[in-house]
Amino acid sequence: MLPSTPLRSAGASDVGLDVNWALRWLTLSAEAMAEHREELIELDRPIGDSDHGENMDRGFKAVMVKIAEAPPETAGAALKLTAMTLMSKVGGAAGPLYGTAFLRAATALGEAADIDAATLASAFQAARDGIVARGKAESGDKTMVDAWTPAVDAAATAAGDSDVHKVLVAAAEAAEAGAVSTDPMLARKGRASYLGERSIGHRDPGAVSTALILRAAVGAAE
């Protein structure tokens, strides 16, 4: 179900990430949301209300418009603009959650022109913590947190090598595995929780969109 983007073998392990990476990340995220719109709607159908793909696609399309209107100058500014746009255009549960995530990540990046592995890992950590602070979901509740938490952990470990590319790959792979791991979970947060036992056996759409976004971050660094 998740696309497996063929990875270029990591080369420039000492090269950092800049505003262009951030803009490519957001562009690839927007493309992924458009491409996977139906899939995310279908995932949201049995355990939700069939709108996650529509919401995310609408939100990231709006991000693209905002970026075109006034291109941000730093990665942090790009993520902050993304946060504000998602907050005002996505709606539902995902809007405030992703909005908070990008806002916290933007704060963690600060004014840095070039993001190193440690900063990147801590930005992911801040994003995840923001989601948990807003949504109060724990691991195993069958939400996007189940993609973010393994991604953050994997990123932290990979950051030891000081290779941003490895951090990105580790995060994306862990998020993808995390999304898959939601299949057998019984939902305890969000709309799927209304289903009780009947939520088991379905993949959480927010965890899948998280994996798509983190995979886009890898693509942006290639």
Partner: protein, 333 residues
């Protein structure tokens, strides 16, 4: 998908525009960001009432904007919570200085978006209270879940808190009566058919010809149990029993009985359900002192209904009877 729509993505825009044209004497519609405000807002000295949520539940909430009910409604995309950039200006537009109550149905998205908007409004100096509506007994309430959903009880909270605001109650008092309604109201719904979200293009779930979904929400999200089709009396009993027992109603109490259509069910069928529910309550010595039957909180074209029971006291009854003048609910004026 056969619907009276143009572009599936313009459904809310065009519908709200038409609503504004049809009810220009009562409401003002703002297009971007989208919200609906009572014509004479802000009403000097009055606490403002704002509600909102995903579209597709019409007449909720826009239909309840007007004298004696809401000051503003904030429609999201179909079945999708509205965003803070809509909720904030709506809140500011209805603030007369007496503060604003947000009436929020308990869905993660609604809660989070209204929470953010409340923070932003408070940062601009507006006092905010939030009344969370969570009356759906189909969902098990628990500290460890998203909790019960807000469904039919929302209409009653909006009417009664709206009347309290209209008579001049202060911010805390309006919020308190809203909470009191919420504590005394419970609902449960059934779907006979699913509904189709315009931008999704196909039904939210599939019910076989002989199946119904008990405990359905108002977003086409599946309910708790799927059972073989039953007759109206049987279905009514299944909805009413958990409502009555969760409320702990006992003989001698007075209630408001609200039989709500999900959008695609004819009124005649709602009255068949009402008949059974009223008979069952009477048999338990419970007096139906007030009634409401019709499509008041819907799920697009879904067939089905919900039963809502509110335990009434004298004050709530008086506030229910107080004049109201909105596009969808009107009496006493």
């Amino acid at each position: 998908m056969k619907k009276l729509i143009n572009d599936p993505r313009a459904v809310v825009d065009e519908s709200v525009e038409g609503f504004g044209l049809a009810h220009a004497d009562l409401v003002t519609v703002f297009a971007d960001p989208k919200y609906i405000v009572r014509k004479d807002a802000p009403v000097a000295g009055k606490v403002g009432l704002v509600s909102g949520g995903g579209s597709g539940h019409e007449p909720l909430h826009g239909g309840y904007v007007g004298l004696g009910m809401l000051d503003a409604a904030v429609p999201g995309a179909v079945f999708t919570s509205p965003t803070p950039d809509q909720i904030l200006p709506a809140t500011l537009a209805v603030n007369s200085g007496a503060g604003v109550v947000h009436i929020v149905k308990n869905y993660t998205g609604d809660v989070l978006n209204f929470e953010t908007a409340a923070e932003l409004a408070q940062a601009e100096g507006v006092e905010i209270r939030t009344v969370l509506v969570n009356d759906d007994v189909a969902v098990e309430d628990s500290l460890y879940t998203a909790g019960r959903r807000g469904v039919g009880g929302t209409v009653l909270v909006e009417k009664i808190a709206g009347a309290a605001a209209e008579r001049g109650d202060n911010l805390d008092a309006v919020a308190a009566i809203g909470d009191r309604v919420n504590q005394n109201v419970r609902s449960m719904g059934v779907a006979l058919t699913a509904c189709t979200v315009p931008h999704a293009g196909s039904p939210s779930f599939v019910l076989e010809e002989n199946e119904i979904e008990i405990g359905i929400g108002i977003h086409g999200e599946p309910g708790r149990h799927r059972i073989p089709m039953e007759n109206a009396d049987g279905i009514t009993d299944r909805l009413l029993e958990p409502v009555v027992s969760d409320l702990g109603l006992t003989s001698g109490e007075k209630v408001l009985l609200f039989v709500n259509g999900m959008g695609g069910t004819p009124q005649s069928e709602l009255y068949i359900v009402y008949r059974r529910a009223a008979q069952q309550l009477a048999a338990q010595g419970i007096t139906v002192a007030r009634s409401l039957v019709g499509n008041y909180i819907t799920s697009l074209e879904m067939q089905g209904c919900s039963i809502t029971v509110l335990r009434l006291d004298d004050e709530m009854t008086a506030l229910w009877d107080a004049p109201v003048h909105t596009p969808a609910l009107r009496w006493g004026v």
